[in-house]
Symmetry: D2
Subunit: 341 residues, 4 copies
């Protein structure tokens, strides 16, 4: 951490600052510029409140030298993390396709869709049992029963399943779930993240609607700090001023996250755009940008879907998307093939 | 709900749409413009997926006529809600001042600050026991023990206390807490909101960093739909591109929320700006704009505060803020005094 | 335009509203819902101030039925616009690659880069003579002399040239320029847009940093309303909360703009990301999403570039990007090949 | 400027960096931390491309020590700037109220409003002759003739006038205008700003809809670098995700700008909110926050105003706002009265 002092700091205040820092076991390396004195802080600077330092009378600015995430940082873990999920793996060169309905509605529905997406090449099945809805009057998911139906579809197809947890109290129901999803609105539900760090299960964390990539990695760090390294990052669109699409899919997040971190990065074009006809172009673009996989909503009858029908595609359309993705895949960006990487 | 059809919709598709809407028990009032046919939908339109309607081939656009919040809506509840908290009340003309440390650090600290803010005119005591921190390596609060200390300070001063819940599993510890706070990052933790709707306790909901006022009211609606009408709304700054302040305090939220809803609205200038010297001007401005109260961080030794020291003010500075607020208060905006209200 | 009235509007006010609308030559089609009366307005509603209508006491909301852009609207012009530029064309199936230095620095520099990018397959040459810089103390471009040097490079290579105009007073210098660029910060410089509508030259308009797609199309409309149909739209990244990249490239803008409008859409990955190593993945993704072309900064010595060196790539890297783009191109999204289009 | 190097930088690259910096006449003060080497750069660092430095292989990060604005910086000019405008002054303790119609429509209209606002205490008259409208089909202002009518109202009332310039070519018409306004959409029209720096006239610069305070000050710097110190800053709302108000008025900008700069800061609550009923609460709040003045749209017949009628208030409502503002004014925040200032 680097502290840039104001010009001619008052000596008394400077002594106080130095004493305070030393009391925190920080070693100080002062250096003199022509106009500004600079203090280099060495030691466990995580105990220093950077905002407070910045607010001191004699301090001009403070600069963090190291990223605040450690376990998720590629600097300390060069190789891609590869996460086994059922018979498949996520990350490290695999391309994962998670498909299925937004909400689980009936055994017939989820099994029909599961069979269809498996036939098109999906590697995992998604389906919502607990649904975060902005209105208390909207359909809230089949909850426990939804989970049971999803596991039926898993048994039928052999596809590993991904589904969202909304509260810690639901955790005991997730024993046979293969990947636990943390939704965008829970990305900074720190108590939930901490507890998931003790599960040993793969955790798929969706980026919050107004969160930075560093904040997403800090949420991954919460899980990893508990001892669970199996984190999958998911870009699903951020809030911007644009209203033509529901959110704005940030595809530059894909190569940037893969440079910042060793964790796999997948992209959800369905939630990002909120429009079924945009799933294909954005799936192709995400693939080209080097994503480790896709998460796509598929519904046999989007018009009657109980939630998010507008963004679901039919199994036929999904087959077409998969054809397109497979054509792009051999030509996609791969940082490890780049000279500068 | 109003559905605007595209020019010359295909007859077959139109019949399908009408049949589908009727199957949902919606009555349809068609009307013919010169260029576009319009369908007025009457009935319980909450079962209709507005995004899906919008995505249909023959639909140009869909427009909601009624706000999606009911219990929180001033249209159905003209009078200001007044919430009793201990010996004091929030809303309906009272001016509430909630003050105290960001984090509870020790019995001595919280009691000292509680006594000081009470002497300056605070009506409630705040203090964090469970702390949401973006880094898993940062101080996470004293947790259970912090709550105990806060209740000591309540006993000492008689001030009602406000403190944040981070997870449902903590709820049993909040029995003697007067107001339960839902933090900005949990504003859309719907499972938590639902459960708080069954508590009967006043719930203070902070606006999320990138949430609209309607979304804030929908979160209030979650609590109210469970039967708990005692909701206090809190503006605490939103995320914008500005970096000179930590967040951007949206003071137009104050008169707007009070027009949209009958619930009390308070303002937190400490978190919004992240800078102790800005607490005063923003507290004055919030008061002038017609807020029902303020929430301010006060610490006896901001430089040693375990979190958010940069934005805490000393008891002396708090006394000065209170003097300023009291001078503005008689001249503040009051919608009920306006001719147009 | 549709006006939704509040419940039980005061009769006197309603009469006033109807009289006012009629005085504007608007025909009114009232229709009665169960709870709300709705007025359909027919005629030239562009004379009605929609915000004012919305603010009237008896009005609940107002909804525009038609997009406010006409000339740029695909609904009134189904076929892709194809714009001839020198020996090449933009739009309608061509893939345009505009490459060159951020700033023109010397005849040697611009000619060397022009020759190199032509050899790699660029179809147009870009180069800045007038540079919009946020600081008055930063290099402002070679201005008139820069334009002269750019035209030398055009003569040498035969490549059509694209360069930015910053003020109407510079227009007379642009006679031999093939495409006039309007920068992101001038996207709503309406006087400039109006005048460019009288030039007959292709105009490349960059999306403003916080502007919606509809606003971009309204700026195109300004040019087209003057009689100049040759408008090229350019997505170059928008401002979001993310700081890891300079801006956030919005690739969903590509298929969405092409659905809203018949104008060609190109993508500038250099300015969007501000990082040379991200040009390739974002160029590939933009191609996959169906862009009509790319705009890329190339510099022989990025480290010594007078501006934006950090985002420029070398001619060698550009050759590599072109190879990647050409591999993706046959598999890119093409709306005209889709069943639903 | 401080350059933080990556761990164990390659020696060859480090030598190249040092050589390059020296060739730019920068003196380098290296200092060694435990993990990272740091270079302090001294000299005219404005010639160094900070983004380029940041992108070098061996560089971890770069930190600017000094603000990029000089003339506008309070550090180099402690006293408030006071700008004479006609018989009145702006800044330094005066409270300026600029009122008048959004658009000038007729001599009768502008004279009637001018007389009314003067009677209520306005110190300057505003009125738009050249109007920036997002649609080319909307009313574009009376232009030259509008200016003539505005000057008639000036003659009649003696009020100095403020009006917007949209293009340099209009400058010759502004001879008798007292304050030239640069609109939000032209805040980064650098050619215009440069030229206004040579006029000697007070320039009122409105903050762009998605611009930071530092960017606003850089625009002021453009004018001041040309020798014109008479710059007035105006906060008029920024774009956020909130849709209940047209923009979000950022009142924390008031104390923050006054700390960063010595220039006067006024607030426009009319454009910020877009709603006439919100002008009063926001005017009161802006006053309390320490603004140097207000800019308010007043129209005798808002319902018939040719533009922005929804946000205009009547002369009667303006009188009421002024009463409220005058009551708040003695209690408003004044940094010079604060101990810490």
């Amino acid at each position: 951490m680097i502290v840039i002092l104001k010009k001619n700091p008052e000596e008394k205040q400077l002594q106080n600052l130095m004493a305070w820092l030393k009391s925190l076991n920080i070693t100080i390396h002062p250096s003199e510029g022509e106009t500004h004195k600079v203090l280099g802080l060495v030691g466990d600077t995580s105990v220093v409140d950077i905002d407070l330092l910045r607010a001191l009378d004699i301090v001009e600015d403070v600069k963090r030298v190291q990223e605040p995430y450690k376990n998720a940082n590629r600097k300390f873990h060069e190789q891609d993390t590869v996460i086994p999920v059922g018979q498949t793996t996520v990350g490290g060169g695999s391309f994962s396709v998670i498909a299925g309905p937004c909400s689980i509605e009936s055994e017939e529905q989820v099994c029909l869709i599961a069979t269809a997406v498996k036939a098109c090449g999906a590697t995992m099945l998604r389906g919502g049992a607990f649904k975060p809805r902005t209105s208390p009057y909207a359909f809230q998911g089949l909850r426990d029963r939804g989970l049971t139906l999803l596991l039926e579809a898993k048994k039928l197809t052999g596809l590993p399943v991904v589904t969202e947890i909304m509260d810690l109290s639901q955790l005991s129901l997730f024993d046979e779930v293969d990947v636990i999803q943390v939704g965008a609105r829970n990305m900074q539900n720190f108590e939930l993240l901490k507890e998931l760090g003790h599960t040993g299960k793969p955790i798929l964390i969706k980026r919050g609607l107004a969160n930075t990539l560093q904040e997403l990695l800090m949420s991954a760090e919460y899980v990893m700090a508990g001892g669970n390294d199996r984190v999958i990052l998911c870009e699903r669109g951020i809030r911007t001023f644009e209203t033509a699409t529901r959110n704005t899919l940030d595809l530059s997040a894909v190569p940037m996250l893969k440079r910042m971190s060793h964790l796999p990065v997948i992209v959800d074009p369905s939630h990002a755009t909120g429009l079924s006809w945009m799933v294909k172009p954005m799936a192709l673009a995400a693939t080209a940008a080097g994503a480790d996989g896709l998460m796509i909503e598929v519904h046999n009858d989007p018009k009657r879907a109980l939630c998010d029908g507008a963004q679901s595609i039919t199994p036929e359309a999904f087959r077409d998307v998969m054809r397109g993705v497979n054509a792009i895949l051999p030509h996609a960006y791969r940082p490890e093939k780049e000279a500068h990487a």
